[in-house]
Amino acid sequence: MKVKGFLKDVSGASRVTKRRLAAFSSASPVPVTADPIGDVAREWHPGKIDLVVTQKRPASKTSVTLRFERPDGKKLPPFYAGQYIVLDFPIGDSLISRPYSISSAPFEARLDDHPFVEITVRRSKGDGFICDHINDNVKPGDTFRGQMGLGQFYYEPLRDAKHVVALAGGVGITPFASMAKEVAHGTLDMDLTILFGSVSSDDIALKEELEQLKSDRLRIVHVLSGDEPDWPGERGFLSAELIRKYAEGDCTFFICGPQVMYRFLHGELDKMGIPARRIRFEVFGQAKDITQFAGYPEGMADKTFELTVVRGIHEDRIPARATESIVVALERAGIRIETGCRSGECGFCRSKLLSGNVFICPENDGRRAADKDFGYIHACAAYPLSDCRVRIPIE
């Protein structure tokens, strides 16, 4: 065979080798560390960062807004309005994490002067002791570790309609507060109608802040479910009938609120014939009472099992209540596990069940197909049904 001639053909290998060596010998001996693409990735997702509380103010009768800045005053990571932040709370020997929708706007995280990020947290009745801890104990000057810019609950211009109808229940207003501020600032190009369900008129989270933002691109409609004869506005729940009144034309519905509202709205939006691609639910949240879910076995509720926790070559044995997720058992025992959404979606707490049985919260099963085959679980959505052996990442 012949390409260009025998001698040239047979000397190809040595020719290309010479070329390679020549390229190296003429190269610079100065180390180049520039990785600007990696730098942008790290600016958006630096992992956990230090945050200091610089302000605490009431957001309603039963909720507070906390403002955080970086101790060095630098800009916070960019994020999308609607995303959440995970904060670590050292409580006793444990490190407990909680996700909170960010209630400040993305542009505020990138200000030149005192960039900040805010969360708004409602005192809750019994189940969320961290919420009470924030309301009662956290004060300016306190420092935290947090990771922000998480979650998929944000406006995607290529997918969503230009008109977004937000269906908010109670403190579920927070992601929409972020969107509203960004719309008002002119850096989020959409029309936003917020249908905001609250129980009583004297306890509406972020009411004054939101009122100031109203414009022809931003409508806020308060809907009261409580019994108040003098209330001039909309009443009842966020029903199909009420939604129809405000959702003209092609809209995308964003829904954030308590779990009971999710169930109700699935039905209402279905009734209205809204196509699936126009409906975005925020994650479900940790199950309030796992025993109430379809498929949860009888007679487990008051049991406690032994959980063997494997990290590398190290093992611990800890108790695990049937009604609490494996993440909660780990946190109670002071064993670190990173969590994000605590709704089975993000997979931060992905772990492997080596033996034993667990119940997976059906609303929160965000696992990959192959993961299911090999016993992987998202520990925040897995509840022990026997003694278990679980391998978790080393933190």
Partner: protein, 508 residues
């Protein structure tokens, strides 16, 4: 608390396909191996993500070198030998090419492919077949020589075609066949899977690519590439390998010119006789070796003398109708404004709009990969890093949306369907996304650019002298066989082989 043993035979940095292949091969030989992966999933790029309740393939287009049961090709055989049993599905076609003047679906099998080329360019059947057969001869030689090296005269006797084409680019060899440009265009699309235009791409690489993909077709794992990655991890663990996720490595510890361990970001110092790094040599030599002065100047000159390959930009669209309902008929469409690979390569310097798109509709190989009545497409360009290096954290969102919009619009026009009007989910994967999840240097997925200045034959010839730190090997797209999931496995095996050879040598 002690999470690690006092000592391992080998520490592998990176639990991607390459690192896991190293680990499998070393464990198979009874070595005590620790794999440290920065992400919370194995596989590196061979992974998936869940959006809107649907698991979506993150990167894999088509896996080469698998082969059918009973007649496995190189990668398929290795995985089987290691006890990694992946549920492979056939990709039904080679590709559909849509460029000015050509609209044609091509299928694997040399004769069928040549016949289809002949339908577009009558009278080219014989020449196309001859060219493909030449590719196969070179492919066979590469496979044999990678296992049994031989002397130059012997090589010339037994592997004449390989030797005689080694000094030429794909373009130079193709030119000798005197094919009309249209026929060359029909043969060119796969260039993107190695990421160098035909004018600088070594014929050797192009030959392997064509022989493998066109000769045997390709496959995908039923449960996406995460199935392959996870099965490799699970099997490695069964064989005694310790795999730790979420453990980025910051330093490779070196003493007296020899690697002896690593330090993780968490602060664990772990010792081993050998270290295999899937992190780019650029990153290793400029910031990971401790002490830094253990890096010879030659190593820096080497990484500076090489050109970085391509990165990736993909738009994923989960659509609310089936592929049939939407008229999406092909598995793989190459849509180009041109088939001139130099022009495309030039266009890929920027951040878009891109003039050459690769679109996969996985449902055509894997019908149940999305819920009934839906389908998934991914639209990809594989740009060079230069353009994206200029984009700041505050600009990336705008730029990625502009680029995505242009790509989706182009495919909407091609299919005659407003894709966005059917989008259940839109996910945009940028070079920054790659950097974020894999930590790869500048988001690069293709290692070093294949070129006549960085030729695979030359890489093999100079491998010995590019070994700058004892007991430190590299695995990944940046190694001899280059980019792609198949070559990643080969590179991982090679790193393991180097370790085993050195162990044997030092034991004597």
């Amino acid at each position: 608390m002690k999470f690690y043993k006092d000592h391992y035979d080998v520490i592998v940095i990176g639990g991607g396909l390459s690192g896991l292949s190293s680990a499998l091969m070393l464990a198979d030989k009874g070595k005590d191996v620790l794999v440290l992966e920065r992400h919370n999933l194995p596989g590196g790029l061979a992974t998936s993500f869940v959006r809107g309740g649907v698991e979506i393939e993150a990167t894999l287009h088509e896996m080469m070198s698998i082969g059918d049961p009973g007649k496995r090709l190189k990668i398929g055989q290795f995985l089987e030998d290691m006890g990694v049993n992946v549920d492979w599905l056939d990709v039904p076609e080679a590709y559909h090419l849509s460029v000015p003047g050509i609209e044609k679906t091509m299928h694997p099998g040399f004769e069928r492919f040549a016949k289809e080329a002949d339908e577009v360019c009558p009278g080219t059947y014989r020449k196309v077949l001859d060219l493909l057969n030449l590719c196969h001869t070179v492919y066979d030689s590469v496979n044999e020589l990678s296992i049994h090296p031989m002397s130059k005269p012997a090589m010339l006797m037994k592997h004449e075609a390989f030797v005689k084409t080694a000094g030429y680019s794909a373009q130079e060899v193709i030119d000798t066949f005197g094919l009309p440009q249209k026929a060359v265009d029909l043969l060119a699309p796969y260039w993107i899977y190695v990421g160098a235009p035909l004018s600088i791409l070594p014929f050797t690489i192009w030959a392997v690519l064509m022989a493998d993909y066109v000769g045997y077709g390709s496959k995908v794992p039923k449960k996406l590439s995460h199935e392959m990655s996870l099965k490799m991890q699970e099997r490695a663990e069964e064989m005694g390998v310790q795999v730790e996720l979420k453990q980025p490595v910051e330093k490779i510890l070196v003493k007296d010119g020899k690697a002896y361990g690593v330090r993780t970001k968490r602060g664990d110092e772990i010792h081993a006789d050998y270290v295999i790094s899937a992190a780019y040599p650029n990153k290793v030599y400029t910031s990971m070796i401790e002490p830094a002065d253990a890096v010879p100047e030659k190593a820096i000159k080497m990484v500076n003398g090489r050109k970085i390959g391509l990165t990736a930009f993909t738009v994923f669209l989960l659509l609310d109708k089936s592929a049939e309902e939407l008229g999406i008929t092909d598995y793989n469409v190459f849509l180009g404004e041109t088939m001139d690979t130099d022009k495309i390569f030039e266009n890929y310097k920027g951040t878009g709009p891109y003039n050459y798109l690769t679109t996969i509709c996985l449902n055509h190989a894997n019908p149940t990969c999305t819920p009934e009545g839906t389908c998934i497409i991914s639209i990809t360009a594989l740009p060079r890093i230069e353009g994206w290096q200029q984009v700041s954290a505050d600009e990336i969102d705008r730029v990625k949306h502009e680029t995505s919009k242009s790509m989706v619009d182009a495919m909407s026009r091609y299919y005659g369907v407003d894709l966005l009007a059917h989008a259940l989910e839109v996910v945009i994967e940028t070079p920054m996304t790659v950097a974020h999840y894999t930590g790869m240097w500048n988001g690069c997925i293709y290692g070093y650019l294949h070129s006549m200045d960085d030729h695979i034959v030359a890489r093999l010839q100079t491998a010995e002298e590019e070994h700058f730190i004892d007991h430190l090997e590299f695995a990944g797209a940046h190694q001899i066989s280059g980019n792609g999931m198949g070559p990643a496995v080969t590179n991982g095996r090679k790193a393991a082989k180097n370790v085993l050879d050195t162990m044997a040598k030092e034991a004597n």
